[in-house]
Symmetry: C2
DNA sequence: GCTCGAGATCGACCGCCATCTATCTACATA
DNA sequence: TATGTAGATAGATGGCGGTCGATCTCGAGC
């Protein structure tokens, strides 16, 4: 229910008068909100957002050794960012020999995407 | 960000062997990415995400005095969150007398929403 | 004028996070 | 078994951000 601004400020205020009709709306489901917050925080870093962008545009699984030279941070730092993306449930990895391949989990961004639109 | 194909991994055991086909993909436009990071960070807090949710579900402008009792934080803290949402370009406010009304800026979430989907 | 109240700002505290270097683990080749 | 390499982990550090109480601002009503 929208607030009617025309009714809001009256010329006289009486005790207990409100600025507007009560809105008091139940927010989005709590678990739902917390999951989206995790995803949003994971995307709230330039390196991680660009990591997701690269991984998404590349349909397959990308080797870490291909990702490190793309960014101006050390290898442990990039590993840390990949770990955060994995903790948020956005990406997962697969090890083959010495190499590790990361990929975006299908549908991982759908919840936030749907809520945003 | 520069892409350097020469940085592809080299191993001694198989000269010229790679862990994978070179991906080295130019990411999303830098300014574009930074704007989305700002929005994502602004949404990366449970209170702010729920604030945006409440404001969006109400097509009109909502008084701060209606928002404060919805959350278990002090008034200065909620004001701080509203300020962060405004800094990120997600919401704006309008003052009428003693009261302040907040609303979601139309299209503010569109950029991130489009990129996510 | 004076007071009251809604909301913003200030200053402080504290925890989280991005970053680094150093080290560790696991695997592959000799 | 010994060595080299890819990637993860550990520990330290500096900065950002969420929170509070206290204070400030300014419009409204007396």
């Amino acid at each position: 229910m929208a607030v009617d601004l025309e009714l809001a400020p009256k010329t006289k205020r009486s005790p207990g008068e409100r600025c507007c009709e009560p809105v008091v709306y139940p927010e989005v489901d709590r678990e739902h909100a917390l999951r989206m917050v995790d995803v949003a925080r994971a995307l709230g870093d330039p390196i991680r957002l660009q990591l997701v962008d690269v991984l998404r545009k590349h349909a397959g699984k990308v080797c870490v050794c291909e990702l490190v030279p793309l960014f101006d941070v050390s290898q442990p730092t990039l590993s840390h960012h990949l770990g955060r993306l994995r903790s948020a449930g956005i990406v997962d990895s697969e090890r083959r020999g010495l190499w590790a391949y990361y990929y975006v989990i299908p549908g991982a961004l759908e919840e936030l995407s749907t809520w945003l639109s």
